[in-house]
């Protein structure tokens, strides 16, 4: 029997055995409230897993752990929760906002400590990792009340045991972004192959622009470049198994990726390791850079209205004609439930809501850099960028999540971040680099 997870359970556990039976029911009726009375017998025997009652009266407070700490997304989430509370008069939502980076960093401690009932997270291996470690709650119930999600999205929300652990909310594609006005001014054309990109970059340099903006101070943005190159050089299937630790990092295929990257590095903004992605995005916004490979959240650095309308993107150019260029990266953000929520019924209701078109409409309106996952979401209010993102994702044949969501988190953060930063500092020693990555990968994936 594990420790009590809620105040009510704790109080119930104080009732001595001798007071069982009818009189216990009477006692508990006052302490726990009518709603949980049906579950009272299971309280003292189960391990707290299904402490919430089944359907019906979901009341009380649901706590939400939110990593949307920037002003605009934070307000968007508040609006969503306000709408939820309006539609469900018995429930209130208490939002616990933590700085975006800190939230991710502390996730292990957070989930094992006292997490909120519902928390924001990402799809992919990162989600399955926690589900398989028994740190996430089964939300198959919530999925029963969600319409409008494609099978692909449901698949990416499913854990290894076939149950759902995730409810998608929004996603955003990674692509090469540029300002239409800058391209028009210099007469640039969107490159379709890597050679065209290289030529365009040379032209941009002559025109005084930085061809490709780049900022890897935080360590993760450069992973996007690796992913795009790997998808183009070796294909989606190879990329997925490489991320799963099933391929050798010192193979010729991986070396080819780094070689290609080394060839492109001169076109990238120098001194990238001291520059945050926000600063690199500002270089694009100020018209000093030609293109920037980032997720569509780059739009957050542009003012709403004319400036954001000036933003456009194209997919990473083709490198190998046999592979083409229709594999993309579109990380999915969403919500999960903690293993032992204090208010499971309320949490499931909240999860069904955030997966619904109504909730997503609010989010995408407030933050036009992301698009809704629900097909029924109102796309009429989409900006040009959002409409193009929808098309972009629809026409892609395969969608990856991003390196730090597709592979083991300890591998991504303690091995790949330093390794990629090392590569950027010294692109010549590729053999040494991949050998080092492979050794570390073997050590980690075998543990």
């Amino acid at each position: 029997m594990s420790r009590p997870a809620t105040q009510d359970e704790y109080l119930a556990s104080l009732v001595p055995d001798s007071v069982r039976g009818v009189s216990r029911r009477t006692l508990l009726r006052g302490a726990l409230g009518a709603g949980t009375l049906l579950a009272a017998p299971s309280l003292l025997s189960a391990c707290g897993g299904d402490s919430g009652g089944p359907s019906g009266a979901a009341t009380g407070t649901v706590t939400l752990g939110s990593n949307q700490s920037d002003a605009v997304p934070k307000a968007a989430i508040q609006s969503v929760m306000d709408a939820f509370q309006k539609a469900n008069s018995g429930l209130t939502v208490k939002i616990n906002t933590i700085d975006h980076n800190s939230f991710q960093e502390n996730i292990n401690n957070y989930l094992q400590g006292s997490p909120d009932d519902v928390f924001m997270w990402f799809a992919g291996y990162r989600m399955r990792f926690f589900a398989s470690r028994d740190l996430a709650g089964d939300v198959t119930e919530a999925w029963k009340n969600i319409q409008g999600m494609t099978d692909a999205l449901k698949k990416s929300s499913t854990g290894e045991d076939g149950k759902q652990y995730f409810v998608p909310s929004t996603y955003y594609p990674w692509a090469l972004f540029y300002r239409k006005s800058v391209f028009a001014k210099h007469g640039y054309e969107v490159p379709k192959t890597i050679d065209e990109l290289t030529a365009l970059g040379a032209q941009m340099k002559k025109d005084g622009l930085v061809p490709i903006a780049f900022g890897d101070k935080d360590g993760w943005p450069a992973m996007g470049t690796f992913d795009q190159l790997n998808l183009r050089v070796n294909g989606y299937d190879y990329h997925v198994s490489l991320m799963a630790g099933e391929e050798a990092w010192n193979s010729d295929k991986v070396k080819k990726v780094f070689d290609t990257w080394a060839g492109l590095l001169p076109l990238h903004q120098p001194d990238s390791l001291g520059r945050t992605w926000q600063e690199a995005a500002q270089t694009l916004q100020q018209g000093k850079a030609g293109v920037y490979l980032l997720g569509s959240f780059v739009a957050q650095q542009f003012q709403q209205g004319a400036e954001q309308d000036d933003l456009d993107f194209f997919t990473f150019p083709e490198i190998d004609p046999a592979i083409g260029s229709d594999a993309i990266e579109a990380p999915i953000d969403g919500y999960m439930m903690s293993k032992r929520p204090k208010n499971e019924a309320g949490a499931l209701k909240l999860l069904s809501y955030v997966g619904s078109a109504d909730a997503q409409n609010i989010v995408v309106k407030a933050d036009p850099s992301v698009i809704a996952t629900n097909e029924n979401a109102d796309q009429s209010g989409y900006t040009a960028l959002q409409k193009k993102s929808v098309e972009f994702v629809k026409s892609a044949t395969s969608i990856a999540q991003f390196m730090d969501r597709d592979t083991r988190p300890d591998f991504a953060s303690t091995v790949m971040i330093p390794a990629i930063q090392q590569f950027i500092k010294n692109p010549k020693d590729i053999d040494g680099l991949v050998n080092s990555i492979e050794k570390q990968k073997q050590s980690i994936f075998s543990s």
Partner: protein, 307 residues
Amino acid sequence: MTAQATPTAAPGKSPVQARRPRPAGKRESHRMVQLFLAAMALLWIFPVLYAVINSFRDYAYTAEHGYFSWGGFTLQNYKDSWEQANFSQTMVNSAIITIPAVLLTLFLSCCIAFVVARFSFRFNLALLALFTAANLLPPQSLLIPVYRMFRAIEVPFWFSESGTLLNSYWGLIAVNVAFQTGFCAFVLSNYMKALPRELYESAVVDGAGVLRQFFQITLPLCRPPLAALATLQVTWIYNEFYWATVLLQSGDKFPVTSSLNNLRGEFFTDNNLVAAGSVVVALPTLIIFFVLQKQFVAGLTLGATKG
């Protein structure tokens, strides 16, 4: 947390340092030394002055005219940084953590110091060594066991809303107390040892027990070192960064210094906002520094001048 030294003085020193007479020909070299010291002092205080001045300047103005211009003064940076960093809440959090931690530390240190100074038990030295060494260990080495222990300790919900010591102020206070007690105990024991034995002897003759001796004789006489240590401890625990970052999980519980962690991304693009934020965070310690300077210095150097 900083390691401390309490050097002992050479014997037979007079409590008042008389001004040493200066021979005439030394004026020149004295002038040079003074100039050098003045230059050094200016150099040292410059970064803080720079931060203070820039905190009052409008970002748009400095972006346009550069930092050597004069003008564009505003209080807006303070308002902005106060809101964005949520200082009103984090300052309160800092107070909630610092004040009990300091009081507990001083009290527990007095207890240990009293025993070690008053009685000659054989374990005295070992005990002091245990405490002093604890102050010097790197906190990174202790994180995970402390974290798991706290998570496993269940406490009533009125004590900590998470049900355990994790993410609770009390857990954080306990860790701070454990770390700081060593240094304070050492300093206090030095001081208490210098208290004359006759005081205790007469008390024992009067039939006073240990408790009475402690509260009525020792503690009142320890006001100077206690004031000094209190000043130091408030500064150190307020400045403490690591434990608060790793032991607290709710965004609204972070104290001021740890909240600096959260400001990195947004703030680093606006220098004047960084300046204003820094000044706000430094303000409590600066106030203590200027008002209670003597105590602060005394705390750091207690034991060097016996008297």
